[in-house]
């Protein structure tokens, strides 16, 4: 199962280090990453693989929420399937886990 992590907020030092640190602790592998500055806001999108994840999705979400408070940025994690479903015509029959 794959998920998209989206980080948005004012640019600062160590954003990738902090977020990837949490992912590493949970044994979540980063497959792809892109980032940009939009309207003065740092915006990062990561594709991650939850195949080897330690703990539940909920606990990963909780850790990312704690991280978001620590670095003062918004962090969301969502299953990749919703993005594929909404933006690819040939989506179908994929399951979440």
């Amino acid at each position: 199962m794959k998920a998209i992590v989206n980080v948005v907020g004012r640019d600062r030092l160590g954003i990738i280090a902090e977020v990837s640190g949490v992912l590493y602790q949970k044994r979540v592998n980063i497959l792809d990453l892109s980032q940009t500055i939009m309207e003065d806001y740092f915006t990062m999108v990561m594709l991650v693989d939850l195949g080897q994840m330690e703990g539940s999705f909920k606990s990963l979400k909780e850790s990312l929420r704690a991280c978001s408070e620590k670095i003062g940025m918004s962090i969301r994690i969502q299953e990749e399937s919703i993005f594929k479903a909404m933006h690819q015509v040939n989506f179908g029959g994929e399951t979440l886990d």
Partner: protein
């Protein structure tokens, strides 16, 4: 990886434009619960609902967490109770409504639909008892929703049932007068009702359905409105295309949720209802979409055309995005549940008659309209007859959900709370329809229904 622009678009739709899954509704057949002993029948009903829907809310909440899209309502629709309770010989079905209410509370859903009767051609003894039980049932329950189907394109319109429902709506208003006549917000009179509609208050589980099924209704007026803001002053073809593309994305989110709920509960996925369902919140209004298309206020000349375009484009976009389409499918125009509609009524742009015209081209009908508390029974029956005629002649579902607000008059406000919203009491035609309604009988099926 899906490109960044698309990912950010989805996030924006959910975060800022109020994209959500409006309802995941489990349809449950109660046909095997019928029993000549009413208490036994109700015991079976309670057990069946609480067994099949036990995990509905938990599973939907889990999927909401994983996909990051809100699933606003989890609901249940059951076989029309008139078909089940008739075996008992009881003279009042309020106890059945209470059982449905208890079962809904036990599994944590906010509404349960199916306290219903299908009387388009004739009224059975059981149907008569159910209709007679409506005021008491709606006054003594919180979550139960009721509906009565009074006409179909194949059968015509049962004017005896229409007449009965005119009076029944007044009785429900009176019985629930200490709560702004809210019982009427949970009672829909249909023509061409469908058995796979996931939306309340008109949901029931059709007799041609399986034991259990999952039906999903999406939402997203805010998403369509925001998309149209980006194509201002462009030709109407562009408007249609943008609505289609946006409806595709919205519907796909619903399709994914429906597939997941279905898989995890082991219950077949029935249909997607390709809907635009507003809420009273700012930024979640169908009326505001029509205004974005170019109308100064919803209800002015051009509103019917803009709504026809919107409704059609939503379906065209949604059909490709889903495996099976059903339910009501189209834009809803419930006045009290749409901030823009409420404002249009208050501003004098939107009238009762214009709403009737709009129902010719959109999903369902005269919906969540507060009318003066002293409106006559024959006038309400005549509203039902008009609306049923629109549905029967045009091969579409239509409905009436009006609230004759007890003690209120034109211009007063009625507050229902929550998703049911608030509404200004609208002016209705003061000329009578008594002699027309008194005739009773049936309006014959239209000529174009003879297709065999």
């Amino acid at each position: 990886m899906t490109d960044m622009k698309s990912i950010l678009e989805t996030i924006r739709m959910i975060e800022k434009e109020k994209l959500d899954i409006r309802t995941v509704t489990m349809g449950i057949s109660l046909l095997d619960c019928a029993h000549e002993d009413g208490a036994r029948a109700r015991e079976r009903i309670y057990k069946k609902i609480t067994t099949l829907a036990r995990d509905l809310v938990a599973v939907a909440d889990q999927i909401e967490e994983e996909l990051g899209i809100p699933i606003i309502n989890k609901r249940i629709a059951v076989t029309p109770i008139s078909l089940i309770a008739g075996a008992t010989g009881e003279e009042d079905y309020t106890a059945f409504a209470k059982t449905l209410d208890d079962a809904a509370e036990a599994v944590g859903v906010n509404f349960i639909g199916g306290f219903s009767a299908l009387v388009e051609k004739g009224i059975s003894n059981s149907d008569r008892i159910l209709m007679k039980s409506l005021p008491g049932a709606l006054a003594s329950t919180q979550r139960v929703c009721a509906s009565v189907n009074v006409g179909t394109t194949k059968a015509g319109i049962n004017m005896d049932a229409v007449k009965t429902m005119g009076q029944t709506i007044l009785d429900v208003a009176a019985m629930t007068r200490d709560q702004e006549s809210i019982g009427c917000a949970k009672l829909v009179v249909f023509a061409n009702a469908v058995g796979d509609n996931p939306f309340m208050a008109g949901a029931y589980h059709g007799v041609g359905e399986a034991d259990a099924v999952i039906n999903v209704g999406v939402s997203g007026p805010g998403v369509i409105k925001a998309a149209l803001e980006r194509v201002r002053d462009q030709p109407i073809d562009v408007v249609a295309r943008v609505i289609k593309e946006t409806a595709f994305k919205i519907t796909r989110a619903g399709q994914l949720v429906g597939e997941e709920v279905s898989r995890r509960l082991g219950v077949p996925f029935g249909i997607m209802d390709l809907s635009l369902a507003p809420t009273p919140e700012i930024g979640d209004s169908v009326a505001r979409i029509l205004e974005e298309i170019g109308l100064e206020a919803c209800g002015t000349h051009g509103t019917t055309a803009a709504l026809a375009l919107l409704n059609d484009a939503v379906k065209k976009g949604g059909i490709m995005a889903s495996n099976h389409v059903g339910g009501l499918s189209g834009a809803f125009i419930p006045v009290s549940e749409d901030e823009g509609m409420i404002a249009a009524v208050q501003g004098g742009a939107l009238t009762f008659d214009k709403l009737e015209a709009m129902t010719c081209v959109c999903s369902v009908g005269l919906d969540m309209i507060a009318i003066p508390g002293d409106t006559r029974a024959a006038t309400i029956a005549a509203m039902i007859a008009d609306e049923a005629a629109i549905g029967v002649i045009n091969n579409k579902t239509t409905a009436v959900r009006v609230i004759p607000a007890w003690g209120k008059t034109t211009g007063d406000m009625v507050h229902f709370g929550g998703l049911l919203g608030y509404a200004p009491v609208m002016k209705v035609n003061s000329f009578g329809s008594e002699a027309f309604i008194r005739r009773g009988g049936r309006i014959p099926a239209p000529v174009h229904s003879f297709k065999n």
